[in-house]
C-alpha cells in the first residue's frame, strides 16, 4: 500500500498545466475520465436502489388500491369528473393519461365497469371485498378473512381477494437461512482455523482451491443436487414427514455459504501478525492453544463479519430455495416447507401485471431484501476494515 503512493504523488495540475512542465491536457483528460468511470460501482448501487424503490414507491406512499369492489363512474359522466379525478380513477400515470384520447378513456371506463360486473356475487358481498389489501396494516398484521375463524397471516396473491401479508415470507426467508448458518458457520470457521493455523503448506494448497471450486458450483446445481439426492438421504436419516422442507433447503444453503464464510474468516485469521503467534509459541503454548486463545480472539471481528456476510448471501439466495421449498406454510418448524422472499419474487414476477399491485409488492419485497443485504454487507465491510487497520497499526 505505502509503496504505491510514490507514483501517486505525481499529480498534474488543472487541465494538465503544471508549473515547470509542459501542459498535458490529454493526460489530465484521461485521468478525469478514468476517475469518472471508476465511479461506476457507486452509480450502480444508487441506480439499483433508485429503480427497485421506484417501482415499489406507490406501495410505500399508499397510492395503490387493490380492493376488489370499487366505485364506478358511468361512461356518460366522463365530462362531469375532472381530469385529475379521472386519471386516478383509471389508475393511469400522468404521462399515460396525457397520451390517451377521449375514446380510449371511454373504453377504459367501460372495461372498468365490465370488470366490476364480472365479480361473482358472493365475493361482491364479501366483507373483505372493499379492503385495500396493500395498506401496511394488511401487509404486516394478521387479519380475520372471510372463512377463517381467527386472524391469520396469509400471502395469497391469486384469487378474487388478494392477500399480501408479508410476515409468512419473512419467516420463510429466515428459517432456511438460520439452518444454513448453523450448519455452515461451525464447519467453515473450523476449517478456516485449521487451514490458517494448524495445517501444513501442502494441505493449504489443496484445501483453498478446493473451496474455491465449491464456490464455483452454480447455486442452481446445488439446488438440483439437494432436490434429487440430499432430500432423500436426509429424510431417511432424520425421518421427518415432508420430503422437501426448510431443513433441506437450509443445508443446501449452508453448502453455498461455506466458501464465503471460510474465505473471509481465513483471511482475517491470516492477517493476525506473526509476532502474536510467535510470542505465544515461545511461551510454551501448543499450536491449538495459540490458535484458539491468541489468534482467534484477535481476528474475532473478522470472523463475525464473515458470518454477517454469509447471512447476507444466504438470505438473498434464490435458486436453491426456489427449487426446494416453495409451498407457503406459516410455521417456525424447520421440518416444514417455507416460501421466502426470494422464492416469491422469482416464482410470481412472471405472472404479475407490470405496474399492478402484485408487481409493486414484489418490488417492495426486493427493496426490503436489498436494504437488509445492503446493511449486512456494510456492517461486514466496516468491521473488516477496522480490524485490518487495527492489526496493521500494531505491526
Amino acid at each position: 500500500m505505502q509503496k504505491v503512493s510514490v507514483a501517486r504523488k505525481r499529480t498534474i495540475g488543472w487541465m494538465g498545466v503544471h508549473r515547470g512542465h509542459r501542459a498535458r491536457p490529454l493526460e489530465w483528460l484521461a485521468e478525469k475520465l478514468i476517475f469518472l468511470v471508476s465511479l461506476s460501482a457507486i452509480v450502480v448501487i444508487l441506480l439499483i436502489f433508485l429503480f427497485v424503490a421506484r417501482e415499489a414507491m406507490p406501495i410505500f406512499l399508499g397510492q395503490m388500491n387493490s380492493a376488489l369492489v370499487l366505485p364506478t363512474i358511468p361512461v356518460e359522466e366522463i365530462d362531469k369528473v375532472g381530469p385529475e379525478e379521472l386519471r386516478r380513477y383509471l389508475g393511469l400515470t400522468k404521462k399515460q393519461f396525457a397520451e390517451m384520447d377521449r375514446d380510449t378513456l371511454k373504453t377504459l371506463m367501460e372495461v372498468r365497469i365490465e370488470a366490476q360486473v364480472e365479480i361473482p356475487p358472493q365475493f361482491r358481498e364479501d366483507k373483505d371485498a372493499r379492503i385495500n389489501t396493500t395498506e401496511w396494516r394488511y401487509l404486516l398484521k394478521p387479519h380475520q378473512w372471510t372463512g377463517y375463524d381467527r386472524p391469520v397471516y396469509i400471502w395469497q396473491p391469486i384469487g378474487w381477494i388478494k392477500k399480501y401479508n408479508i410476515i409468512p415470507l419473512l419467516i420463510g426467508s429466515v428459517k432456511p437461512t438460520l439452518v444454513g448458518l448453523l450448519f455452515a458457520t461451525p464447519l467453515a470457521i473450523g476449517a478456516a482455523i485449521y487451514v490458517s493455523q494448524l495445517a501444513g503448506d501442502r494441505t493449504r494448497e489443496l484445501v483453498k482451491p478446493a473451496i474455491e471450486l465449491l464456490s464455483g458450483i452454480p447455486s442452481v446445481v446445488i439446488g438440483f443436487f439437494a432436490l434429487l439426492v440430499m432430500a432423500s438421504v436426509l429424510q431417511s436419516l432424520f425421518r421427518y414427514e415432508v420430503r422437501l422442507n426448510a431443513f433441506v433447503a437450509g443445508i443446501a444453503l449452508g453448502i453455498a455459504v461455506i466458501p464465503i464464510v471460510f474465505s473471509i474468516s481465513e483471511d482475517a485469521l491470516t492477517s493476525v501478525p506473526r509476532s502474536y503467534t510467535q510470542a505465544a509459541l515461545a511461551l510454551g503454548a501448543s499450536r491449538w492453544q495459540t490458535a484458539y486463545q491468541i489468534v482467534l480472539p484477535a481476528a474475532l471481528p473478522g470472523v463475525f463479519a464473515a458470518v454477517v456476510l454469509g447471512f447476507g448471501r444466504a438470505i438473498g439466495e434464490t435458486m436453491i430455495v426456489l427449487m426446494i421449498c416453495s409451498a407457503s406454510v406459516v410455521s417456525w418448524n424447520i421440518f416444514e416447507s417455507a416460501r421466502g422472499i426470494t422464492t416469491t419474487i422469482a416464482a410470481e414476477m412472471a405472472e404479475a401485471v407490470t405496474g399492478g399491485h402484485h408487481y409493486r409488492i414484489l418490488f417492495m419485497l426486493g427493496a426490503l431484501l436489498f436494504a437488509v443485504t445492503f446493511l449486512s454487507n456494510l456492517a461486514g465491510d466496516i468491521i473488516i476494515h477496522r480490524l485490518k487497520a487495527k492489526l496493521e497499526g500494531k505491526k
Binding site: 504505491v4 503512493s5 507514483a7 501517486r8 505525481r10 498535458r24 478514468i34 468511470v37 471508476s38 461506476s40 460501482a41 448501487i45 441506480l47 439499483i48 429503480f51 427497485v52 417501482e55 464447519l187 473450523g190 482455523i193 494448524l198 495445517a199 482451491p209 474455491e212 471450486l213 465449491l214 464455483g216 458450483i217 452454480p218 447455486s219 442452481v220 446445488i222 443436487f225 434429487l228 439426492v229 453448502i255 502474536y276 511461551l283 510454551g284 503454548a285 492453544q289 486463545q293 491468541i294 484477535a298 438473498g316 434464490t318 435458486m319 426456489l322 427449487m323 419474487i345 414476477m349 412472471a350 426486493g366 431484501l369 443485504t373 445492503f374 454487507n377 461486514g380 465491510d381 500494531k394
Partner: protein
Amino acid sequence: MTGARVMNGQAVTRHFRAERRDVGSHFFAALTGLSTLFILCILAVILINITWNGWQGLSWRFITTIPKKDFFDISTTGVLPMIVGTTIRVFVMTFFVLPVGVITAIYLTEYAPVRSPVTRIIRGAVNNLAGVPSIVFGLFGLGFFINFIGHHMDTILRSPEPTWSHPSILWASLTLAVMTLPVVIVATEESLRAIPMGLREASLALGATKLETIIKVVLPQALPGIMTGGILAVSRAAGEVAPILFTGVAYYMADLPKRLTDQFMDLGYHVFVLSTQSPNIEQTRPILYATVIVLLALTFALNVTAVLIRARVRKRLRALG
C-alpha cells in the same frame, strides 16, 4: 484485549501449563481438521455423484440437438440452444463489464489517493455490490433496463412494436455485467498490485508520462490478471439464473436467437425447468444429470483456468513481499 493477554506473560504461561496435559487441545485441533475434511467430502460427493450419473446421458447428439417443444424425452432432446444462449449472453456481458471493471481497477491502484473518502466509498460500493442478492439484480434489470431504458428507446426510435422494452439477450447480459463488475475489479486490482513499483518508476524516469506508463508498461504486465478477472466473471455469470429470470431467458424457443433483442434458452435455467416442471422426475433424471454436467464442465473449465492463472499472479505477489 489480545495484546494484554500476550503481554501479561506470567499469567499466560501458567494458563498454558495447566492445559498442557489436557487432551482437549488435541481433541479440538482434530475437530477443526475434521470439519475441513467434511467440507472436502461434500465437494467430492457432489462432483462424483454428478459425473457418475451424468456420463451415461451425455452424447454428441445430446450436445448438438435442438430439442422439440417437449424436451423431457431423452431420445430426442438436446441442449444446443441452451449452450448457445449461455455462451452468447456471457460474451456480450464480458464486452460490457471488462472495460469498466479494468478502468476502475486502474483508478484504484494507480490514481486514487490512499486515504481519501472517495476511494473508501468506491471500495465500499464494490464490496457491497458483490453482496447484493442476484434476484435483486434481476429486479433491477427489469425495472431499469427493460421498463425504463427499453421503454424510452422504443419511444424515441418509434418502434412499431415493443422491440427493446421486453426481455432479451442484451438486457440479460447488461444485468449480468452489473452483477460481475466487482469480480473483474477485484481480480484486476490484485494483478495490478503485483507489478513491481520499480517498473513504473523506471518508465517515469525515462520520461514517459503516467498515462503512457499505464498503457505501455503496467497493462501488458497485468494482462494475465485481467484475463483471470474476465474468466471468473464469465464462470460466475454462466451459472447464474436468478438475474436472467425476468430479463431474457425463455422457457422454450424453436430457433436459435438471431438478434441481441431476441430471448434465449439457458443451461442453468434449463436445469431448473427440468428439475421442477418435469411430469416424471425418474424419466427426466438422465437428461437432468447430462445437462448439469454440461453446465458444470463449462463453469469449471473456466474456473480452473482462472485459479491457475491467479495462482501464478499470487506467487509473484508473494515474491515481492
